[in-house]
Structure formats: structure tokens, C-alpha cells
């Protein structure tokens, strides 16, 4: 059974209350979600990702099984990120928890990665989210629009502008 064909069955079992099935869904989606949130909020990405999965488990009965699971999940992650930005106290608690688990990772080309991190950090949150979903997470524009609760045209323009800005920043470095 492939991952894509297994997902609806796992979602159905999770909706019926199977924690084991939900655990497998977490395993399937943790990589993409954490990578996405890691670019939005590097300090407390794992904490937001965990909160996202907990919320998804508690509200999985509301999920429409006829729709794809990934945009719904990433939509929760996006809302959690926005909520965290608004709530100072929550942000403070998350940063405290995240500080306990900081890992230093050496990267193959730290200069380029740092430039990219700086360029991404300079983008507005909506633009950054749309760009990350469509480029890094391989979402279609429609899926990204669903996850971010934005009109399709807005997502397309965010992606185009974000890509332009990143290319301009990274191009300057190369040239």
C-alpha cells in the first residue's frame, strides 16, 4: 500500500478514534509541517507543530474526509503560528520550551543558507507561507489557498513576488 492510498484509510481510522492511525499520520506529515513552520518561526517551530497535531486530533471529527488531509493540517499550523504571534504570553512560553531543545546543525553551505534564511525572514508572513507551501512543500496553488484561507489569485501573486525577491537577494550574492 502506498503512502497516498494509505492516507484516507488512516484518516478514517483516526476519525473513528484510533490513536495508532493518528500516530502514523503524524509520522507521515511531521517532516513537511515542521519544515514549513521552521521557516516561519525557527525558534518554536516544533512546539507549534506539536500543538497543530494535538488540535488536529481533537478536531478530526470536523474534518471532511472528501477533502485532502494535508491542506487542512497545514491550515491549522498556519493559524497556530498566527495565534502565537498575536499572543505575547504564549510566544514567551513556547520560546522557553523551545530553548530547552535547541540543536545546532552544521550545513553544507552556511553562507548561502544564511542568506536564504535572511531573505525569507524579510518576506511578509503571508508571502512567506504561500512561497514555502508551493515551492518547498509541493502544494498546488489551490491547496495553498485552502490551507492559508486566501483567494487563489492572492496566493499566486504572493508566490510570484516572493520568488522574485528571493532570486533577487540570492542573485546579488552570486553576482
Amino acid at each position: 500500500m502506498t503512502q497516498d492510498s494509505a492516507e484516507p484509510a488512516l484518516v478514517a481510522r483516526a476519525r473513528a478514534g484510533s490513536a495508532d492511525a493518528f500516530g502514523r499520520l503524524v509520522h507521515m506529515h511531521q517532516h513537511g509541517l515542521r519544515a514549513f513552520l521552521g521557516r516561519l518561526s525557527p525558534v518554536d517551530a516544533d512546539d507549534i507543530a506539536q500543538e497543530t497535531f494535538v488540535f488536529a486530533w481533537e478536531h478530526i471529527a470536523r474534518f471532511d474526509p472528501a477533502r485532502p488531509f494535508r491542506p487542512w493540517l497545514f491550515g491549522i499550523g498556519w493559524r497556530k503560528f498566527r495565534e502565537g504571534k498575536r499572543s505575547f504570553l504564549r510566544r514567551l512560553m513556547r520560546q522557553g520550551r523551545a530553548a530547552e531543545n535547541v540543536e545546532i546543525v552544521f550545513q553544507p553551505d552556511p553562507g548561502l543558507k544564511l542568506d536564504l534564511a535572511r531573505a525569507v525572514a524579510g518576506l511578509p508572513a503571508e508571502q512567506k507561507a504561500a512561497l514555502l507551501l508551493c515551492l518547498a512543500c509541493e502544494f498546488t496553488h489551490a491547496e495553498a489557498a485552502e490551507a492559508l484561507a486566501m483567494p487563489l489569485g492572492t496566493v499566486k501573486s504572493h508566490v510570484a513576488r516572493g520568488r522574485e525577491k528571493l532570486c533577487a537577494t540570492l542573485g546579488e550574492r552570486d553576482g
Binding site: 500516530g23 511531521q30 517532516h31 519544515a35 521552521g38 507543530a49 506539536q50 481533537e58 550545513q107
Partner: protein, 94 residues
């Protein structure tokens, strides 16, 4: 710069498989469930205590009336409980 290069650069250092993370999520789910059930039990207990406190004078008056028959009432309750428990104690059949 093409999309593939950007995608490679944007890909984080998150491991594709991370059992520790999955475990952390499932632990958090269990902690929430435990806290919720604890809060519910505490709430129900507080309600029951308050209700008992409120009804205590009435119950005391009623108890005075049935006190002479208390042993009969206890036997009746034991018999009723045993009758209700029998189906649960027998092994299940297909």
C-alpha cells in the same frame, strides 16, 4: 535561480522519520486527555459534594423513617446489584 534549487535551499534540516517527535505529540495528546478527565472528575465530585451538602437535612429526615428497615433495604440493593452484574460476569458467546 530555478524552482528546484530554491526548493533544495528551502528544505529544512528536519528528519524524514522522527519517532521522538511522534512520541512527543502522542504524549501531549495523552496529557491533555488526562487533564481534561481530571478536571471533569474534580468538577463532578465538587458538584456531588455540594448537592449532598444541600440535600443532607432532607436525607437525614428520610433516613429516620427508613432506619428500621435499613437491613432489608441493604439486602434488596445487594440482590439488585448481583442480578444486574450477572450478564457482565458470564463469558461472552458468539
Amino acid at each position: 535561480m530555478d524552482d528546484a534549487t530554491l526548493k533544495n535551499l528551502l528544505a529544512g534540516q528536519v528528519p524524514v522519520s522522527d519517532p521522538r517527535f511522534v512520541l512527543a505529540v502522542m504524549t501531549r495528546i495523552e496529557q491533555r486527555r488526562f487533564r481534561r478527565e481530571l478536571a471533569m472528575t474534580a468538577g463532578l465530585t465538587a458538584f456531588a459534594v455540594a448537592l449532598l451538602g444541600f440535600l443532607a437535612p432532607t436525607v437525614e429526615i428520610m433516613w429516620r423513617d427508613i432506619a428500621p428497615f435499613a437491613s432489608n433495604v441493604v439486602i434488596l440493593l445487594v440482590l439488585m446489584s448481583a442480578t444486574l452484574a450477572v450478564p457482565y460476569l458470564l463469558p461472552a458467546r458468539d
